[in-house]
Symmetry: C2
Subunit: 432 residues, 2 copies
């Protein structure tokens, strides 16, 4: 266990967010917890407590923190939200290698913090923690390790290789404000490592192959996203990565995709129908017969009637629009940029679709586009552009994947804030 | 000559607008002139003079008006605008039977008045006069009458059948504020009748086959419109009118269209390139293989860089948009409505194109569309819809022809007002 790992709250505690202060570490800013504040150097603890997201939190120092780890002073602050107010749970479904980690980095950036693995923990932990969010990888709920799967001839996509009971129990516990001891699937060794403690964060993101597969887990989600990479693009990406960078043969790449496909179609793909937002990544239609997979057509399929979520629209809500922003005011290089917006049905549900084909050359284009989108849940003019610029080096920052991931981040922040706003915060002394 | 026909001003006069009052006719409101005011019953002449479009005009009564016509009292008011300020001249080119008269009725309605033939004049006069506008038909400049054309085997489309020298001289004179004695081509007899006096109005519309054919006439135009009916639609309309209503055979209709086509292509069609706005009427693309000509796709091609004229746009100026307004907020019946907007080039000139395919079922649809158009030069919210509703019985009121004709009317009003605003009004006593 990491020295900075959160101490599990008693099972009976319904505390939601905790701030752990360990002020003696090298005299640097320290204390990172899900309450979203860092202690400023030289700032008093009491002053800090008044700053924690505007909530008043009580504290104790010493206590549990001392002892086994030889830490000089540790304070645990618990900000308990009103009964019934729980961790907001977001589900992100996607195949491996589909850009989930980039998505997560964009999401946590919207909240102003950087996501890092739990400090001092298992270096192969799949968990990412930021001030506001904790992202757990559902591979950690594999019930069969690499060898077990090989022995039983099942893929990681197969529900039989996954422990949905435990997934449900732990997500439920986290949602209720209880810490859990979550297993770790070691992607390097292919084995299951000793568990790590996960404290209930403000926003819990469960990402992986099956966040919406199990009905019980699905019922815990406050918002869900499916990252849907088309076979053509997946193939182009795999070729680029596995052939160009890892020296695999075209045949072996084709074979691995073909081998995964039946299970993917049976267990992963059907989750789309439950998602509040589906981001579809397709080959461009701007270049005839393009199969390079560099220029992308990205669609965001947004379900209508979802609580706390109003789909983004272009110009005129509920109508159908094709928009080529490139023209007199905005000049774009070949093959240009094309947007589509319109109502549709998706798995029998009413949805709105926003599509971007092509890519941005420079900032002007993005701010121009942003200024014409509505319901984007930004807090100031140009926030999307600012976020995209901040992470210009992330994959997809010049196309619809980056744009729609950023918008999803803003939407998740909005969902979170609206759920939060529904209840008033009640404070309770930390039980340490 | 009609008793109400304006008295031609001396050739040296630069007076632009005149108000003729003939108060003794049946005790009704009377007096209709190009100053745009009617006398209210019981209102004093001097009070009226202060009302004439906000201009102060001088008057005289008696004088020339008395005499040959036996009229009791006649007052002529002349509102002379500053030197250099002239009648605004609008050109409207179109083939016969293409809806020019409807267009003119929509145009004059924008100015608040109804257009009527000159009172008491030749009942076969082609001229239409309203408070603000005078519309003259360029057929009046035929140099060859029906028999002359037959003899020389030229069509009315042929420049040799038209007197461009006289057309130029008279339009120029009117533009300079001088009245003219314009010939009348009698469409019933096919002969040239005795001329009628045309006084310089605020807005002179010259409509017909050749308003932009002659370079000199063209140079007099402040704004020009070409009504471009596609062959398919022309054919469908002819069939409807000539076959269904007049009992012509399909073959004879085809033959008459074919016979006209070479001259039309040679002399009429090329004028498109000079127009500030071209209204193209095409078969719908919403119904596959439609050839009924009932549902229309209408395009307004608007030239960029024209003084006093900013093209209408949809949502985002200078970009390219396809918009189907029918959706969640607006439901339309089959085949729906589709708009297009975007930049283009037309005869080497930069243009913006606004297109409407389909037709309106009811008011909701039009006001919804109007509210999304920009640069429409309305004076209040919903003015287009109000105009269209007012003339719901005019042909094309439910489709793009009516919509774009109305918009052209608003644009012409705007051109007129901006030209007017450039100079200050100077008043001078009427020379009677």
């Amino acid at each position: 266990m990491a020295s900075t790992a959160a101490v599990a709250a008693p099972a009976s505690s319904s505390s939601l967010c905790k701030l752990h202060l360990q002020s003696q570490f090298h005299g640097q800013q320290s204390g990172l917890g899900s309450c979203g504040a860092r202690q400023q150097q030289g700032e008093s603890l009491s002053a800090l407590l008044l700053r924690v997201n505007g909530q008043h939190c009580s504290s104790s120092s010493g206590g549990v923190g001392r002892g086994g780890f030889g830490i000089g002073r540790r304070a645990v602050v618990v900000c308990k939200v009103a009964p019934g107010k729980k961790t907001v749970v977001i589900g992100l479904a996607a195949d491996s290698g589909c850009g989930k980690s980039t998505f997560m980095r964009r999401l946590t950036s919207v909240f102003g913090g950087a996501a890092t693995p739990p400090r001092g923990g298992n270096p192969d932990s799949n968990t990412l923690i930021s001030d506001t969010t904790t992202v757990i990888c559902l591979d950690d709920y594999h019930s069969l390790d690499r060898y077990g799967r090989k022995e039983k001839a099942v893929t990681a996509l197969d529900p039989r290789a996954n422990n949905f009971d435990l997934m449900y129990e732990q997500v439920k516990a986290l949602k209720e404000g209880k810490s859990v001891e979550k297993p770790i699937y070691n992607h390097v060794s292919g084995l299951l490592d000793a568990p790590e403690t996960i404290d209930p964060p403000k926003i819990l993101v469960i990402e992986g192959l099956h966040p919406m597969y199990d009905e019980r887990v699905r019922s815990l989600l406050d918002f869900s996203i499916y990252l849907d990479i088309s076979d053509d693009v997946k193939f182009a990406w795999k070729i680029q990565r596995d052939m160009a960078e890892r020296g695999h043969s075209l045949e072996s790449i084709k074979a691995s995709i073909t081998a995964r496909k039946p299970d993917f179609d049976a267990y992963i793909d059907p989750q789309k129908q439950y998602a509040d937002a589906v981001i579809q990544v397709l080959p461009t239609q701007l270049i005839p017969d393009d199969n390079e997979g560099k220029v992308l057509r990205v669609r965001m399929v947004m379900r209508e009637g979802v609580k706390y979520f109003e789909p983004v629209y272009l110009f005129d809500e509920g109508s159908t629009i094709n928009w080529i922003p490139c023209g007199r005011k905005l000049t774009c290089s070949y093959p240009g940029i094309k947007f589509f917006y319109g109502p549709d049905t998706y798995y029998g549900n009413e949805v709105s679709v926003l599509e971007m084909d092509g890519q941005f050359d420079k900032l002007d284009e993005l701010i121009y586009v942003e200024s014409h989108l509505s319901n984007i849940s930004t807090k100031f003019y140009g926030e999307i552009t600012q976020q995209m610029l901040k992470h210009a080096d992330f994959p997809g920052s010049n196309n619809g994947t980056g744009l729609f991931q950023t918008i999803c981040g803003l939407k998740i922040r909005n969902v979170y804030e609206r759920i939060l706003a529904e209840g008033s915060t009640v404070l309770e002394g930390a039980k340490v």
